[in-house]
């Protein structure tokens, strides 16, 4: 007997998918197919799956239509487009070619190495059966019912897994130290940060399973999920996942028939960057103001409510079931010797393809930008890549061939940090970028120690001075001295890394700083105080376009005669520069 043919429709319902109308798209598919009795017409069973993020959010809603294992993906699907897809593709078997994803989607996806993000675009995050179907919770069962605690830890150590956030400390070693503490009450915390949201939305059970295994390994009966309350979808899906896991007996008492008991509780944060710092995070869970504690004692010795505590982020935990399931050797075969596995980044900035990417550790920056990212947007050359969020270092174009791993990032004065990766081009001003990040860090400093609280403020003031052409050469020395102080004297990582963009920027783009300070010029033409717009008379055709677009009335001149810009009235918005078709406006 021939197996019945099937049609599967997978609609992205991650945060971006939902925002682009994914829920409507899915319901229209269901409605059309059911109403018209299509299943009977084509004699195929239709199923619909809401899936998590595939990372390429600019082309949402992304829809997979799979007929008998033949998969095609549609991009930017609107509810109005569904009918045509159903009639032409599902009924007649001819995909709507114009709406399919293009080469950029292919190169974006195929050059990645998705191990933790992989299931996100495939399974229904709200169905535990989908997760069980991909051998979900088998690793937890194996660890809890067949392995000793130290065997689990040994395996994690062997895998070489390091914390996917912060300083990249060995996860297994962290667990081992925590396990060895005499106190019988221990806690384990999963921090769900910004970059972890797609994991929580796309495959929440992997996080829960990792946390469960971690809890077993260190001998903790209580896990916490720390997450910002406003990440509604992540919270919703994690909560559902916990309920489902409890129903199946994976969380609760006597898990897998052993004497191991484990419970998970939510703890909600608000809008504080400092809560990425683990001791501040613990203060927050305890209901106090999130201000970091001094170390030592380390959280593994004295953490939450003074008890030994392990904190890892959701990405780290998502790797655990894979390591237990597929083996430490499999995991360490990905990446480099010292930095094994993969890492998720949010690729953004001036590249063609922006989105959420997962790369094997050690992948050269060049391959990320020009391979996955599809190269520079609008043809302007790359200037720098910044990795690790606001306190990551700036990596110049000349160092793009270095591989992205913990060792190289540290050499480059950067961090894995919050997993951000921003690409800047020659139109970006290094000083302005640095100022922008300093502004953020200053605002997010918890205020506890002077080097960070006042240091970031002074750095911001000096950087502002530079962008406004008021700085002197001495100010650079003052900035360097401040950076040194903040790096060594600050209480926590926020203050210690806050000067990274400045230090690396000054190292690699000293000329640009000097141009601002000495010549009072901004080579990228970004710092408004340092640029002037003027009209090159030879080129000006007197088309009056610049006069029309100028919001300040600073352009004067008659038709077909060269125009003039009144420098005193000009607000330097650049509208004339962008509008001129004859390159007659000069920006200096």
């Amino acid at each position: 007997m021939i197996e019945q043919q099937t049609v599967t429709i997978k609609v992205c319902l991650g945060t971006a998918g939902r925002a682009s109308g994914g829920a409507d798209v899915l319901s229209i598919f269901q409605k059309l197919i059911q109403l018209n009795g299509i299943e009977a017409q084509i004699d195929k069973k239709c199923s619909y799956t809401k899936v998590g993020c595939r990372g390429f959010c600019s082309k949402d809603v992304l829809v997979d239509v799979i007929i008998n294992d033949q998969k095609v993906t549609y991009q930017s699907v609107k509810p109005t487009m569904v009918e045509k897809i159903v009639t032409e593709h599902i009924l007649k078997g001819e995909p709507v070619a114009d709406w399919l994803t293009k080469e950029d989607y292919e190169s974006f996806q195929t050059k990645q190495h998705k191990i933790v993000l992989g299931p996100c675009g495939e399974i229904d995050p709200e169905s535990i059966d989908d997760y069980l179907g991909m051998k979900g919770y088998r690793a937890a069962e194996k660890a809890i019912s067949k392995m000793r605690r130290d065997e689990v830890i040994k395996k994690v150590i062997q895998s070489g897994l390091r914390g996917r956030g912060g300083s990249g400390f060995s996860t297994g070693t962290k667990w081992e130290i925590c396990k060895s503490q005499a106190d019988s009450t221990k806690y384990i915390i999963c921090n769900v940060g910004e970059v972890n949201r797609p994991l929580a939305e796309g495959n929440p059970h992997a996080i829960i399973e990792g946390l469960l295994i971690g809890g077993y390994a260190i001998g903790s009966e209580k896990g916490f999920i720390y997450i910002r309350e406003r990440y509604h979808l992540s919270v919703e899906r994690l909560r559902l996942a916990i309920t489902q896991a409890k129903d199946k007996g994976f969380i609760g008492r006597n898990i897998f028939g052993t004497d191991f008991c484990f419970d998970i509780e939510f703890s909600f944060g608000t809008e504080a960057f400092i809560c990425g710092e683990e001791t501040a995070l613990m203060e927050s869970i305890e209901g106090k103001r999130a201000m970091p504690r001094v170390r030592p004692p380390f959280p593994v010795q004295k953490g939450l409510w003074g008890k030994p505590t392990v904190i890892n982020n959701a990405e780290t935990f998502s790797n655990i079931p894979l390591i237990i399931g597929k083996g430490a050797r499999w995991f360490s075969s990905i990446g480099t010797k010292e930095s094994t596995g993969t890492k998720v980044f949010t690729l953004s900035g001036k590249v063609k393809n922006v989105g959420l990417v997962e790369i094997p550790m050690g992948m050269p920056f060049r391959d990320i930008v020009y391979g996955i990212g599809g190269g520079m947007e609008s043809g302007v050359a790359l200037k720098a890549v910044q990795v690790g969020g606001p306190s990551g270092g700036l990596i110049p174009a000349s160092m793009l061939d270095m591989g992205l791993d913990y060792e190289n990032l540290s050499k480059l004065g950067s961090i894995v940090g919050s997993g951000g990766m921003v690409v800047f081009n020659e139109d970006d001003c290094i000083v302005s970028i640095t100022k922008f990040f300093m502004e953020f860090l200053q605002r997010e400093s918890c205020g506890k120690c002077p080097p960070c609280r006042i240091g970031t403020k002074r750095m911001l003031e000096l950087l502002t001075k530079i962008t406004e052409g008021r700085a002197e050469y001495n100010d650079l020395a003052t900035l360097e001295r401040l950076s040194g102080l903040m790096k060594t004297s600050s209480l926590c990582g926020l203050g210690r890394t806050a000067s990274n963009p400045f230090i690396t920027g000054l190292n690699h783009f000293r000329d640009e700083y000097l141009a601002h300070v000495r010549e009072k010029k901004c080579p990228a033409g970004v710092c408004t105080a340092l640029i002037t717009f003027s009209i090159v008379e030879d080129r000006c055709k007197g088309c009056t376009l610049c006069k029309k677009v100028c919001p300040a009335g600073a352009v004067s001149g008659e038709v077909k005669k060269p125009h003039r810009i009144d420098a005193a009235a000009c607000i330097k918005c650049g509208a004339c520069f962008k509008a001129c078709k004859f390159k007659a406006i000069k920006k200096q």
């Binding site: 103001r289 001094v294 400093s445 120690c449 006042i454 403020k457 003031e461």
Partner: protein, 354 residues
């Protein structure tokens, strides 16, 4: 016994090449103090938990900078408290704090006993290297006792901790973040607490001072008189600050046996009655509806006469005696004896219920 001996275990370490044996569990800051090595610290206070916030007590341990107030001594530790590297870091941190602090020492109540001023003096910071914007706040707190000048606050957190950990009140905490971080009561309302003034005592700068102290005199121009607080039976040790025979402030020494430097609102701020013009200095008898000065002889006769008459007419229980907690125990004993034996009633009480 053996347990006790174990607790006394000491570790041997070197501080500025001086070999020292210290009991386990001490911090480097405490160990250094024992051998007379001074390490400046702004957030450290013996009565509260250590937070390591001010970063001024930084020292080098085996080459790495750490805060000495939070780092416990360990065997063979090599501590250097005064290398040029450490002194530079310390200087720069103090510089940053000063850059966000008003330069009005000449009119500040705290002058001369300000820990920040002392550091500026010893590190010779005339004008901060890292100058810039300073926080500007309105002094709008209308409470009766404590002047809060948050521009002078260095956010060391001593007041927050002493209020929470020692007094158990938690009237203030940190609010906002970044450069605008501020210590204040909830929603920036006026301070409305017990006004024990523990925060004022702990504050290293002029951010918190007694409202009644302002302009009354510099601390080096006063005479200190140690005495016992007369408000209640606890008997806290207090120190009166006397200038021109007037009490202008009350404090307490940290080594006081009974109260360890802590006081309550009455002991710390309730000294105004001493020089009050309203204070009674001689007996008064009401004659024709007006109080008139009288001699002690006259007054005692008058009182005895009235008491007798009431006792005869209405019995002894028509009389009640109320004494003061400010009297000595002996005086109170005599008073109750008088009420019971001479008047003949058990109606006797006194005011130590506040």
């Amino acid at each position: 016994m053996s347990n006790d001996r174990e607790k006394q275990k000491t570790v041997r370490l070197r501080i500025n090449s001086q070999v020292i044996d210290v009991p386990e569990g001490r911090t480097i800051l405490e160990a250094a103090k024992e051998i007379g090595i001074y390490i400046p610290a702004l957030c450290n206070h013996p009565m509260i938990s250590q937070s390591g916030a001010c970063r001024v007590c930084i020292v080098e341990v085996n080459g790495t900078p750490v805060t000495s107030c939070t780092t416990l001594v360990e065997k063979d530790m090599e501590v250097i408290t005064n290398s040029p590297y450490i002194e530079d870091l310390r200087r720069d941190t103090i510089d940053l704090i000063l850059s966000d602090h008003p330069y009005d020492c000449m009119v500040c109540q705290k002058t001369g006993e300000c820990e920040l001023q002392e550091l500026a003096y010893s590190y010779n910071i005339r004008k901060p290297l890292f100058s810039g914007e300073r926080r500007i706040y309105d002094k709008k707190d209308g409470n009766r006792f404590i002047e809060r000048d948050m521009e002078k606050c260095i956010l060391c957190g001593r007041c927050v901790k002493i209020c929470d950990e020692v007094q158990g009140v938690g009237a203030i905490d940190f609010a906002y973040k970044g450069f605008g971080t501020k210590v204040c009561p909830p929603f920036e309302r006026d301070l409305d607490c017990e006004f024990c003034g523990q925060c004022v005592m702990a504050c290293p700068t002029g951010a918190l001072v007694g409202r009644d102290w302002i302009g009354k005199g510099r601390y080096w121009k006063i005479r200190e008189v140690d005495t016992t607080c007369s408000y209640c039976g606890v008997g806290c040790s207090i120190t009166l600050h006397v200038k021109n025979n007037e009490i202008i402030r009350v404090s307490s020494r940290p080594d006081s046996v009974v109260n360890k430097g802590l006081l309550c609102v009455k002991g710390r701020f309730g000294y105004g009655f001493i020089s009050s013009p309203d204070r009674l200095k001689q007996p008064l008898i009401r004659k024709d509806g007006r109080l008139k000065a009288a001699s002690w002889e006259e007054a005692l006769d008058f009182a005895a006469d009235k008491l007798k008459k009431i006792k005869e007419a209405h019995g002894p229980d028509a009389i009640t005696g109320l004494s003061s907690a400010r009297c000595t125990t002996e005086e109170n004993y005599l008073f109750q004896k008088f009420m019971r034996a001479a008047v003949g009633t058990n109606n006797v009480d006194h005011c130590a219920r506040l």
